[in-house]
């Protein structure tokens, strides 16, 4: 005879946090861990500094030429340092075996991606805040007149780059040679950002024939929007299990 068992305690009902909250939670978590370990930021910064020296030794010349070289140097630094950061997006989760948990959690996956994109943009922005003035000093280019414009261009460019690079970096994790494959894969795709950025920066510095920097800004913004939307939309389909 089996006596009637007391009803098993219901598991506590877990509700997925809302979309914005998910973004904020993941963002806060990443900010906290990054502030504690400073791994990614430190490596990116150091890489950016090394790059400035490479550019300085490679290109420093007369002032006029320096001014023409400056946009390419800035945007090259953004792409290279950015690749480093993007490649590390889910590195900590992968090391701790927490990636599966993050994906399995009831949180919406695109919210996680959005937070990760924001993290990558913030990291690139921090690196560029250090690297660009340094490049300006080393190449002896005066940026004071157009600092705001160039900052805006770089920010939009960083968003576009992160919007493409972050989802691809997540996907690349399961491939062999992921860290080698990532730049091969990302660079051709972000060429539009590079072209727009370099052109826009040379407009800002006054070395181009055009004088209106807005079309290129608009172009970069559209790029970031389309890829951001596409990535967020597809992310649910990209990552399973």
């Amino acid at each position: 005879m089996t006596e009637a068992r007391p009803p098993a305690p219901r598991p506590p009902r877990t509700r997925a946090p809302g979309y914005t909250r998910t973004v904020l939670i993941v963002l806060a978590k990443d900010a906290r861990t990054e502030l504690r370990s400073k791994q990614t930021l430190a490596t990116m910064l150091l890489f950016g500094l090394v790059l400035t020296f490479v550019y300085a030794f490679g290109f420093v010349s007369d002032p006029a030429t320096n001014k023409k070289v400056m946009p390419g140097a800035m945007w090259g630094a953004l792409l290279f340092a950015g690749t480093l950061g993007v490649g590390r997006t889910f590195a900590r989760e992968a090391e701790d075996g927490a990636f599966g948990a993050l994906v399995l959690s009831p949180a919406e996956r695109s919210a996680i991606l959005l937070a990760k994109i924001a993290v990558n943009v913030a990291l690139s922005a921090l690196v560029m805040v250090v690297v660009v003035p340094l490049l300006a000093v080393m190449l002896r280019v005066d940026l004071t007149d157009c600092a705001g414009l160039i900052a805006l261009q770089l920010l939009l460019g960083a968003i576009g780059f992160a919007a493409v690079g972050t989802p691809l970096a997540v996907m690349a994790v399961s491939a062999r040679f992921a860290e080698v494959l990532l730049p091969i894969v990302v660079f051709p795709m972000v060429t539009p950002v590079l072209i727009a950025g370099v052109k826009g920066a040379s407009v800002a510095l006054g070395t181009a024939i055009e004088t209106d920097p807005w079309p290129w800004l608009q172009f970069t913004a559209a790029y970031g929007l389309v890829f951001g939307a596409g990535g967020l939309f597809l992310f649910e389909r990209m990552v399973t299990e």
Binding site: L168, L181, P188, T191, L234, M238
Partner: protein, 225 residues
Amino acid sequence: MRLLFPAATALGAVAIGVAHYLAFVHVPMESTMGAVQRIFYFHVPSAWLFYLGALLCFGASLGYLINRKARWDAFAHASAETGLVFGLIVVVTGPLWARPVWGVWWNWEPRLTTMSLVLLMFAAYWVVRAFGGPGQGVRRFAAVLAVFAGPSIYFVRVAVNRWGGVHPPAETASRSDDVIKLTMYTCFFLLLFVFGLLLRIRYRAHRDALTVRAVRRRLARLGGI
């Protein structure tokens, strides 16, 4: 049935022969460019076929991401490879034409730049497929890559057009007279046949490899081997 594909391949070889005849013997010499212009009859159709391969890869990859059927992925893989073969033809023949006509092997002309960037994207796709290893994750990665390449190509086109801002030499093709156009289209369809053959055989190879893996897994589960 077993002889169907060899027979079709033989037909493809004949098609290429016919295309050679049309391009090198049949068509009259173009007045301004002379013999080099004959490159066009292979160069331009190959470019179209490269973009066709890219388009098929994009569509099949999107389909794969939605329905998760490995065959769609196999098709995407095959069409990327086939497209790449024709893209290589474009890149090899382009400079051959540009050197005598423009005086340089390479020119940062919008069409050229776009083409080379798209080619780089699909070369990257191929590298991922070839060296990334098997497994679902890599397949999905490649699919996302192909899907992202779609809008990316659009942006590359716009950016490069604005960057270069030079007249594309497309006029040279549109200016040509009827015989030249007709030959061009005929060559396109002849090459399309070869494209189809290549796509078919590559698709079959990838699909069979998938089946072999699946059967192996079942065997291993049943304790065979």
